[in-house]
């Protein structure tokens, strides 16, 4: 009896989870489907779900009109570079906050997080003027640095949370065995926190990949990533929804594939320490 209730509950839970998953995934699915429609089918009402004239024309138009590979390469450099730089800075910062906290550590953590609450547009002009002075406008290095700074509070917070789960005694034992600070962080702490670091990297790559304020406002022709690629297909005067969907699908495909293959690692890292 108990077994049948469990099975029933499992079935309901599974169905519910699938329903929620499909609901969340539906906008992406709709975008992908629309990318294979004609512009007329894209705006048809009632909407056409699967029964329409499937076409690759939109992808051909997008491919012909835009240099997709250049946008993609910029996205890879900017998202990858900013995450890598952020991790290099955040690991020692999170280590010090987790293992040698001061009286103000909590305040510093909260202050760092509070910078995320500031509307980005509020600092657009100062940032733009700084970029002009430094010659960083429309450069990848400029965007790598600005996205690293934006995501740094999240990276430090995440790593801090993971590091707090690691018993300090292990690091103490390493120190007693003569490990230097560098060896302690590199060879003792980092390997133990690999799941946490991996999920932090993945999450920040996704955040940097999707960032669409600074990447649109600080780039022009050279360093524009895939967010600018999508923006070039959006129009308030003209029905180009199928082409916009094709461009969006091409822009999200790499990160979607990466997320799909690394989902185990991502979930493992995000739930690290959540269940005791």
């Amino acid at each position: 009896m108990a077994r049948s209730i469990t099975t029933k509950r499992k079935t309901i839970n599974t169905a519910f989870a699938w329903a929620v998953g499909l609901l969340i995934f539906f906008p992406i699915l709709w975008t992908i489907l629309t990318s294979f429609k004609t512009e007329a089918d894209a705006i048809a009402f009632p909407p056409k779900f699967l029964f329409f004239d499937w076409t690759l024309e939109n992808y051909a138009v997008v491919q012909e009109r835009s240099d997709y590979m250049r946008f993609l390469w910029n996205s890879i450099i900017i998202a990858g570079g900013s995450t890598l730089l952020g991790i290099i800075i955040a690991i020692p910062a999170a280590w010090s906050m987790a293992f040698v906290p001061s009286r103000r550590t909590k305040d510093i953590l909260m202050w760092m997080l509070s910078t995320k609450m500031l509307p980005a547009v509020g600092v657009l002009y100062p940032m733009y003027l700084i970029f002009i002075k430094l010659g960083w406008l429309d450069t990848r290095i400029g965007l790598v640095i600005v996205l690293m700074l934006i995501n740094l509070p999240i990276i430090i917070w995440m790593l801090y949370t993971y590091f707090k789960e690691i018993p300090g005694e292990i690091l103490e034992a390493a120190r007693m065995d003569g490990a230097s600070l560098k060896s302690e962080i590199l060879y003792v702490l980092t390997p133990m926190a690999v799941p946490g670091i991996a999920s932090t990297i993945l999450l920040n790559v996704i955040l940097a990949w999707n960032e669409a304020f600074w990447t649109l406002n600080l780039t022009a022709a050279n360093a524009a990533p895939l967010t600018a690629f999508i923006a070039s297909y959006s129009s308030p005067e003209g029905l180009f929804y199928a082409k916009l969907s094709a461009a969006s699908t091409m822009a999200i495909a790499p990160i979607l594939i990466m997320g799909w293959f690394s989902q185990k690692q991502l979930v493992r890292g995000l739930t690290f320490g959540a269940v005791k």
């Binding site: 004609t38 512009e39 007329a40 705006i43 048809a44 009402f45 009109r65 657009l124 002009y125 733009y128 003027l129 970029f131 002009i132 406008l137 429309d138 649109l216 406002n217 022009a220 022709a221 524009a224 600018a228 923006a231 070039s232 297909y233 959006s234 129009s235 308030p236 005067e237 003209g238 029905l239 180009f240």
Partner: protein, 432 residues
Amino acid sequence: MKLTVRALMGACAIGAFSAAAYAETITIATVNNGDMIRMQGYTDDFTAKTGHTVEWVTLEENVLRQRVTTDITAKGGQFDIMTIGMYETPIWGKNGWLVPLNDLSAEYDAADILPAMSGGLSYEGTLYAAPFYGESSMVMYRKDLMEKAGLEMPEAPTWEFIREAAAKMTDRATETNGICLRGKAGWGEGGAFITAMSNSFGARWFDENWKPQFDTEAWANTVNFFKGMMDESGPTGYATNGFNENLSLFQQGKCGMWIDATVAASFVTNKDSTVAEHVGFALAPDNGLGKRSNWLWAWALAIPAGTQKEAAAKQFIEWATSKDYIELVAAKEGWANVPPGARTSLYENPEYQKVPFAKMTLDSILSANPNAPTVDPVPYVGVQFAAIPEFAGIASDVSQEFSAAYAGQQTVEEALAKAQAIATDAMEAAGY
């Protein structure tokens, strides 16, 4: 002979070298619309003629506005040419942010630019942006539904006729809405429409002393008429409909009439439209007060002051807004696809006169006067906007209040009272 050949070859080599050395790469910020995308496809023609290459930065209209405004005010120098409209041009020209375009070549024939366009793109008589295409607004209607309703659309209808026709054409059972209009918040969306409409009702944004006028009867009449007519005969959720939503409805046969940009004429008569063969055109309505409710707009190319590639940028503007470019597009894609509304000679061309919406587009453009847009005098220039820096911010907020009234979240009177307060506060803060 040998010497002559060698000398010639040497001269050619020097010529080629100097052309290569002179060749520049210019960066152009532009909007994503059909005409601009078409122009990008013909960039090779420009490169073949001048040796210069072009890097395009194409952005959605609102993103582009923010992007180029940030760059020009901060002197970022990211773009050699910017695509801007009639709102920005006189303001930026006055501030000295744009390169004057009064020295374009004789071959370019600047005098051929439609006076309404050159007037709206100038400041104190100096042209600061060359129109790539221009537009006004007009009535696009279904001739078959009009006939079924037992009515005939006049060439210059009144608002009362439009309201009556809309009510008769509406058939909720078949989801046919008598009229589709912009109600969406945003100064370039519903804000532009209601401002142009208010001109025909005798309303204005500011009096001669820059005092906001939303507390007048003319504004109350405008917004009440709009809401009343749309509640009777408009589509469900019209408060959130903009150009694209209405275009989609019209193309699918769900609108009897649509009053919007003249450039939409080519969309409602193309292959994507299910009602292409039934579409007729008329001037935007009036109220017998001497002003019609059509707007005037141009997407134009301007050179930001301080660019290092001014000469190449001017060459591009001359190429893109020339008569030759129009001929090039006509030869490749037909006259219906050339950029409209910029040059007088286009409308004198017998081939272009055969395009069904050509005459009505020109008549609409000619009937809009940005220097005297309203029944009563105003201190500003612009038909559906006031060309002052504060306008975009104020109009965005005001149009949000109007959209909330259309959606039934507040009364028209409440919306107008809030609009008056918003505009008064902003104008006082700006020192008017």
